[in-house]
């Protein structure tokens, strides 16, 4: 491979990984925008998403690395797995909010955030106890079709990731911009008291934020499995921390910022793997984070001190 093709290849890989991080980062940012809460349980909603997806695929007989289905049946299986995963994770997010976080609403200080860390550990340990600590093989059901640009290659599965991420992120953006509930979400993020006095029901807005964020985390968990072909109870912490970093890098609370941050982190991970060694990825990611926050404390697209009186 020529140096140029090598670079191109890493950009292709980075965009795929970045889409996953972006989907995951959105959940942090949506919830933070509305509640100023960093929700660490999000890490393991993502992890559980990968297991749900694996479970649904196995119901279709899709297991291991061999290609067992083609054409329409495969597409149906993938779509069903995606929808089930997203809905299940969305409901899990709503449940976490209802059971663990709502009782703490209005309590000052870091209690709610600490609670989300606790919930995160409960989810990962429960998964470990129920399904075992060993790493599972995630099926690889998409035929290895490839397209070439020079010697760099794009696999069919990467295109699936891009299209899926673009649809989900576009859908989220349209929802937040256009729908009544989406506007209520934005209004609540900008001025919660004023939104309340317009008659917005805050609980509904918060539930929506958790549902949407967690559903996207489910989609990201599915993509993780497809990309790396494994999953285990611990994936939430590494990928989740990177996605959280992406949200902060882009400006936490800012939706386009989370998308941008996610893509950047994905590109860095891919480049680091190619040029300096994968083990340096986190060093580079967090160094960049520090540098960006020194120059722009609110993140790349964030605003300092939101206009609130």
């Amino acid at each position: 491979m020529s140096p140029f093709d090598l670079l191109l290849q890493q950009i292709i890989n980075g965009l795929s990984l970045g889409s996953m991080y972006a989907l995951l980062a959105l959940g942090f940012t949506i919830v933070y925008g509305i509640m100023e809460l960093i929700n660490f349980s999000h890490f393991n909603v993502f992890m559980i998403g990968s297991f749900v997806a694996m479970g649904v695929l196995s119901l279709f007989g899709l297991q291991g690395q061999s290609i067992l289905m083609h054409g329409a049946p495969l597409v149906v299986a993938l779509i069903v797995a995606l929808v089930v995963t997203m809905v299940a994770c969305g409901l899990l997010g709503v449940l976490i909010e209802r059971v663990a976080l709502r009782p703490l609403r209005g309590v000052q200080g870091p209690m709610a955030m600490i609670t989300t860390i606790g919930v995160s550990y409960v989810l990962s340990n429960a998964t470990m106890l129920a399904l075992g600590a060993n790493t599972k093989n995630f099926p690889n059901p998409i035929p290895p079709m490839t397209f070439h640009i020079g010697t760099a290659q794009i696999t069919a599965f990467q295109i699936v990731i891009w299209v899926l991420s673009a649809l989900l992120m576009g859908g989220l953006y349209m929802f937040v911009q256009r729908s009544k509930l989406g506007k209520a979400m934005r209004a609540t993020a900008q001025d919660p008291d004023a939104a309340l006095m317009m008659g917005v029901e805050v609980n509904r807005v918060i539930m929506t934020a958790f549902f949407l964020g967690s559903a996207l985390a489910g989609a990201a968990g599915f993509i993780f499995g497809l990309y790396y072909n494994f999953t285990n109870f611990g994936i939430g912490f590494t990928a989740g921390l990177r996605a959280f970093t992406a949200a902060v890098l882009g400006g936490i609370g800012n939706i386009p910022g989370a998308m941008l941050g996610g893509i950047l982190i994905g590109l860095i991970e891919a480049m680091a793997g190619q040029y300096v060694g994968a083990k340096w990825a986190d060093v580079i990611i967090f160094s960049l984070l520090v540098l960006v926050l020194i120059a722009r404390p609110a993140g790349l697209l964030g605003r300092l001190a939101p206009t609130k009186s």
Binding site: D191, M197, M198, G199
Partner: protein, 240 residues
């Protein structure tokens, strides 16, 4: 139409409203005067349900509302114009108006109300696609009033509508308030600008450290020595 019966409101240990009684008649403009920190905004928050009274009753159109959610109160016809406007800064003017109509179905009535707002404030129509945070203070006030009208309210509660506006603009705002009132909307208005407020109000209440110390027709309060000393000093200077 709206009544407070022996309302007591606390923030933690801080007793703000102390046995407060108000009685607003339908179709009136009532203003609430008082110095800083006497509980004027707390009165508005109690009406909207942001603060709950510890004892006493809030009655709207014959029914107790003090246990209802804010959304339900808005649905029943109470809309706020908040202290310092409080528009949604990164939403457009039109979206802010939409938020005013949040509890209502989108339909022909929405368009009627929109027309009414645009007729009252042609400037708001011009700026409909601008981010609300980038409007001037005066324009923001128009949008804030328009946003309240979009709820098709029977009662509008305004917290210091003249705050931070130029004298000319204050005058325009008060004219608009009278126009809205003539269209049948009851107005309950907190004001520090007592002279202006009393000139358009039918009745007024004076609040002092959480207690109603005076109330009566605006014309009487204008003549009242105490009020003249405490709140109308500026008007006299201006008139001389």
């Amino acid at each position: 139409m709206l009544e407070f019966r022996n309302v007591n409101t606390y923030y933690g240990d801080l007793h703000v409203l102390k046995n407060v009684n108000y009685n607003l008649g339908a179709g009136e403009i009532i203003c609430l005067l008082g110095g800083n920190a006497c509980g004027k905004s707390t009165t508005m928050k109690t009406i909207m349900g942001i603060v709950r009274p510890t004892s006493g009753e809030v009655i709207f159109e014959g029914q107790r509302i003090d246990k209802l959610s804010t959304a339900e109160r808005v649905r029943r016809g109470i809309a706020p114009v908040l202290e310092a406007r409080r528009l949604f800064p990164r939403m457009t003017v039109f979206e802010n108006l939409e938020m005013g109509a949040f509890t209502r179905k989108r339909g022909p009535e929405f368009n009627e109300d929109l027309d009414r707002v645009y007729t009252l404030f042609p400037r708001v129509k011009e700026r409909r696609d601008q981010q609300a945070g980038t409007l001037s203070g005066g324009e923001q006030q128009m949008v804030a009033i328009g946003r309240a009208l979009m709820a098709r309210p029977k009662l509008i509660c305004m917290d210091e509508p003249s705050m931070g506006l130029s004298p000319l603009f204050v005058e325009q705002t008060f004219e608009i308030i009278q126009t809205i009132n003539r269209q049948g909307v009851t107005i309950f208005m907190v004001e520090q600008n007592a002279a202006m407020a009393l000139s358009i109000a039918h009745r007024a209440y004076v609040l002092q450290t959480g207690q109603v110390v005076l109330s009566g027709p605006a014309s009487e309060l204008r003549e009242n020595e105490q009020i003249r000393e405490a709140y109308l000093g500026e008007m006299q200077v201006a008139a001389e």
